[in-house]
């Protein structure tokens, strides 16, 4: 009798837990099962400063997602950084397995003695509706034209992008709204040959106000397969240690603004003047900081119809910078609410991405972190011994202590912040098994199996990646939109989508590669929770045209073309229902 009561009680408690989703794991590590077998390897330099540089170049593990072959399944490109390391193009087989086709595509050779891959960006530079690929490198970037037959052609020499950059990030959007997507490249080191430097003075001159980095280069798309460097004309005379760039329309005026995250100093905020130029309004918008900006992602976390910004910095017991969650005030000013929302401390942060992993209609956040996870000894005392030395010249690499086999902010747990209805976030990473301790760099978010649940690819430095399949149980609705413009800016980069369901309006947009070392799918995804009906979808196209769709059934992937009144079903796979 007593046993039965206990059993019944336990069962009912268990059912209650299931109903609340407590304790269930919604991500499965499918890295090996999916056929992802490679390991990223850091570059080892061979110059007089190699032993010092080794501690500062644990970079280059990146992922860029796109449906490069137009089969309706998102594929992805990943970088290696070793001298003989091959970059990979993983073609989606449609069954959550992937095949590396980089060699056949002509994309594998991204590393050699003079170049190290750092990031990658898909964008359609020639408006042929095929994503082309920019490989971002310490050295010379590579631009590959997608020929549409599974092969790519290196068009760098004729593109106007040839030139030495120690580039680490890039985003693509049509800043002058001429219908051609332009490219913004962020560089870390200044353009010295880091493989064989002719001076030892190429390290950051300051930890907080360094102004001897690589800055930002703007390449305006000429519309004929070439680009022109318009950096100065566009208003980007910068020399910061750029780590990431993130664009979005901050003030909903129809053009794209830009946040520049800088290591060793001040992040910058540029407002688009609408005439092909930008104005640096950092002081007014976000104030002057001295932190180590690592990542920029935009998303409307509080559902107020304005896109907010998440920037990771370094937070550890020896450096308490804290992240920024910039709540958009709507007047081109932002307020940091990271403390209030519990998104302040993510260790040595790298990529962070807004996405709705549980389809409840609120933007969650996944954050990866960790600098170097090596031996048990810490590098912190070494670095602070240098910092506190009087009159130290930080720009001189010879003054920096070698890291050797020591660790610095290593073995840090990743965070999966669940959005608690716009009021704050709670970390659910451990529950869902996505709290690994590898040195994370990039996060690619996409629905790789077209089942309405967003999956995650995590690129780790000097380690194997993680590929997490979202296994959210059935019961929550969703919808996705692949937007396209028939003539210009074919993937509608910058388009905003406002979806109304159940009395709430959500805002999302098509971004052109936001997030450190990571580009997510260009599809716009909305979680709908229990709502069975989508009342209205309003699209504001990059051209400025507006379009409204009504009464779309949920749990579909739609293709919407600018100028066409109806959405077509791209893929109708609602496996959760």
């Amino acid at each position: 009798m007593t046993g039965r009561v206990v059993l019944a009680g336990a069962l009912s408690a268990g059912l209650a837990l299931l109903a609340n989703g407590v304790g269930e794991r919604w991500f499965e590590d499918v890295t090996a099962k999916a056929g992802i077998t490679h390991k990223h390897t850091n570059r080892e330099f061979k110059n007089p400063y190699a032993h010092i540089m080794a501690g500062y170049t644990a970079l280059g593990a990146a992922v860029a997602v796109a449906d490069y072959n137009g089969d309706g399944f998102d594929d992805f490109f990943v970088t290696d950084s070793a001298e003989n390391g091959k970059n990979r193009l993983y073609r989606n087989n449609g069954d959550f397995t992937f095949t590396d086709v980089a060699e056949a595509a002509g994309l594998a050779a991204g590393n050699d003695a003079h170049n190290a891959s750092a990031d990658a960006l898909w964008f359609d530079f020639n408006n042929d509706q095929r994503p082309d690929l920019l490989v971002i490198r310490f050295g010379q970037n590579q631009l590959f034209e997608n020929l549409g037959n599974g092969k790519f052609r290196d068009v760098t020499p004729t593109s106007g992008m040839l030139g030495y950059k120690n580039a680490i990030t890039a985003v693509a959007f049509d800043y002058d709204r001429d219908g051609w997507v332009d490219v913004f490249v962020g560089s870390y080191f200044q353009p010295v040959n880091v493989f064989n430097p002719d001076t030892p003075r190429f390290f950051p001159e300051s930890f907080e106000t360094a102004n001897n980095g690589g800055g930002v280069t703007v390449y305006r798309n000429n519309g004929n397969g070439t680009f022109t460097d318009t950096t100065g004309k566009a208003g980007f005379a910068l020399a910061g240690w750029t780590l990431d760039l993130g664009h979005a329309d901050a003030d909903n005026d129809g053009d794209e603004d830009l946040y520049v995250a800088c290591d060793f100093g001040t992040d910058r905020f540029f407002v688009n003047n609408g005439d092909g130029t930008f104005t640096d309004i950092t002081e007014k918008a976000i104030g002057i900081d001295t932190k180590k900006g690592m990542n920029v992602d935009w998303g409307d976390f509080d559902g107020d119809g304005l896109l907010d910004i998440y920037v990771t910095n370094i937070t550890d017991d020896y450096m308490r910078e804290g992240n920024f969650l910039w709540r958009n005030n709507g007047d081109l000013t932002f307020a940091d609410v990271s403390r209030e929302t519990d998104t302040y401390n993510t260790g040595w942060g790298w990529c962070a991405k807004f996405f709705d992993y549980d389809n409840d209609g609120w933007q969650d956040l996944y954050v990866v972190n960790g600098w170097v996870s090596a031996g048990k000894d810490s590098y912190v005392p070494d670095i602070f011994e240098m910092i506190t030395r009087p009159n130290i010249e930080l720009a001189d690499a010879r003054n920096w202590p070698p890291m050797g086999s020591k660790s610095l902010s290593g073995y840090q747990k990743k965070r999966l912040f669940h959005n608690e209805g716009g009021a704050g976030f709670k970390d659910h990473a451990a529950r869902h098994g996505v709290d690994s301790v590898r040195d994370g760099r990039g996060i690619g978010v996409a629905d790789f199996d077209n089942d309405g649940r967003l999956d995650l690819y995590v690129a780790n430095a000097n380690a194997e990646p993680y590929f997490y399949r979202n296994t959210l149980p059935a019961g929550r609705n969703w919808v996705q939109f692949q937007l396209g413009s028939p003539k210009a800016n074919r993937f509608a980069i910058g388009a905003q989508v406002r979806l109304t369901a159940g009395g709430r309006t959500q805002l999302s947009f098509v971004n052109g590669g936001n997030g450190f070392a990571a580009q997510s799918s260009t599809r716009v995804h909305f979680g709908l929770g229990k709502n069975e009906k989508i009342d209205k979808v309003e699209i504001r196209w990059p051209s400025g045209a507006k379009q409204t769709l009504e009464n779309l059934p949920p749990n579909r992937i739609y293709r919407v073309l600018e100028g066409k009144p109806k959405a077509e079903i791209l893929i109708a796979k609602a496996s959760q229902r």
Binding site: F207, T290, D316, D317, Y318, P381, T388
Partner: protein
Amino acid sequence: MRQATLLVCAWALAGAGAWGATLADLDRYEALLAKNADDIRAGSEYRQAVIQLKQYDRCIKFFEELVAKSPQAANAYLNFGFAYVDKIPDAGAITQVILANTALSHFSKSIELKPSWIALYTRGNSYLYWPKIFGKAPLGVKDLEEAMKMQKQDKLRPYHVRAYISLGDGYWKMDDVEKARAVWQEGAKLFPNEPRLKERLSRSGDELAKYIDETLDPNKRVDTNLHELWEDQ
């Protein structure tokens, strides 16, 4: 005569932390300190005015010159160290370390010249702000134990509660939770209404760790107003 009266009024307000400082006040305090470098009260009130006006670099430069002229003024060194501490919340994370490190050297000089309770307490407490990896907590505990010995030979003064709080924090940082609680409890018997002791004693485990971690956050301004010292005289 009138000027002296105004300054006394300003001092009284400075003690309460409720006055609007002006650059002219800085001039006046600097003149006072030039006459008596060891004037701990003038030095403290000068710094409170500096904090209001964010004139940290002026203050540091002033004390640098002052101690050069008066190398035996222990309280000038103490205020010199505090001048660096005062700048910490407005500095970047790396500069904070440099400032804290420099402050420690001036506190040490002050102790070398005159091992007073305030100097020992100050240096001991400063060590506790350093991350564990630097191993400074035992140094802090040593100073705070010394300050505790001194205060136990004195009559009980309101500011003595600080040593109970900080010494307990020091033991806690050295992972001796039992000893930490014992010191806080001892303090609570003498200062039963002290909220900072109550807060610590009401917490344990991660909650206590979070509380102390937040208390010792260098981004939060430390109250370096020394008015309690003379208010009790």
